[in-house]
Symmetry: C2
Subunit: 257 residues, 2 copies
Amino acid sequence: MWCQSCKEEYDEDDAGTCKECYEEASETEEELKREIDDLRSRLHFLRLPSPTLDVSALGHSDLLLHAIPASPSFFSSDAAASEAAHPDTPAIPAHRVILASRSPVFRAMLENEMEESRSGIIKIYDVSYDVLRAFVHYMYTAEALLDEQMASDLLVLAEKYEVKNLKAYCEKFLTSKVNNDNAITHYAFAHRHSAKQLLETSLSAIMDSMSTLADREEYKELVEKDPRLVVEIYEAYLNRQVNTAAGKETDCSSRKG
Amino acid sequence: MWCQSCKEEYDEDDAGTCKECYEEASETEEELKREIDDLRSRLHFLRLPSPTLDVSALGHSDLLLHAIPASPSFFSSDAAASEAAHPDTPAIPAHRVILASRSPVFRAMLENEMEESRSGIIKIYDVSYDVLRAFVHYMYTAEALLDEQMASDLLVLAEKYEVKNLKAYCEKFLTSKVNNDNAITHYAFAHRHSAKQLLETSLSAIMDSMSTLADREEYKELVEKDPRLVVEIYEAYLNRQVNTAAGKETDCSSRKG
């Protein structure tokens, strides 16, 4: 038999698909591609010019956001992070209607005639200028350029202001970066910020190398800082061992039966 | 041979595809579906609460749009259309940043300290309240519920304010509705509003029933109102006849050769 798609010959014993099924699969592909084009065009339309890039958007801005950096975040323990604490970073212009529509926290703040609503000035604490800039950019464009540091900083901000989409986006990115070396750090971070997917993935990575766990610096730190989290690791590990053992037993008994 | 997808037997002479090609097609489908999910979630995030529906969005509005209906539009020749001319329709609230980002015309109006920018009141002429409402709704959501009347009214407004996405959306809808009965009306409309796709489709539908063209009421009206458009129909028709004849000739000579 000759494959009608790649034109290579294939063995009769190899299961192939008939012409109709293959054509149906191709048609679905065409439909999906048309849908993607349509969604992209609507997305392009709805995307707003970010006030962090487009100066022409500034004319209508009715808010100013100030980044007030504080303690360095969990990931950046080096001294370089304190450079962001420079007091002279410019304010970032924004629009009430955009922030209020993206974040229930901003909405409550701006609708309830609080100090921020009257003055049009919002101070965002514990965040560097660059992170606030990326945050505002996302509010207008649904786009963010991430590395691990930026993703964790943005996740914290997204959680604080209840911007679910951004939190999920950052969590997905961080989850994809979990490995044996950073699993404990990510596990602790996920716990603090209720990031379920990241928690599960990092916990699973930790359990995959339990034999070296107790030697790690991050482990010792965690025992010191938050021993309950370490207990949860051991409980999950024990639970997995019990389940695996039970699974093997069922396997054996069903084979015997 | 048995198809691995639908499990039906198929003839060896029927070209089938090998397992690898079919699996590749299915994988692409999965990837496309993931992309669609991602685009939908970003679209959902960027979609703004429409001030025509969501009263909570009104708090931050800094513009009021007034619909000033005038002559009935091309499609609605009946008297019912004049009902829209009621002077007491409410103003529609909106936001400078949204209108300016979606339409170069609004942008110029609002940035150049024109009367509208100072007062925050924009009069939209020759449009009913319902159409203006649908227009504003689209500016916030990239969504519009269309029938033929609404699509043509919105297309006119979208052209006037240079909202390309909306114009294309309406034109696509109208193009899908072209038939022998409405082809002349659509053709004249497409001409007036530079809607190329609609123009081609309606011209093609007109040429498919040339024998009855001269009897139609819309034809007689068009000859009266804009005879140049009628000339263009005949020119296109003649052109097609010449091409078809030339095609047949090539066909015959190649067969002879």
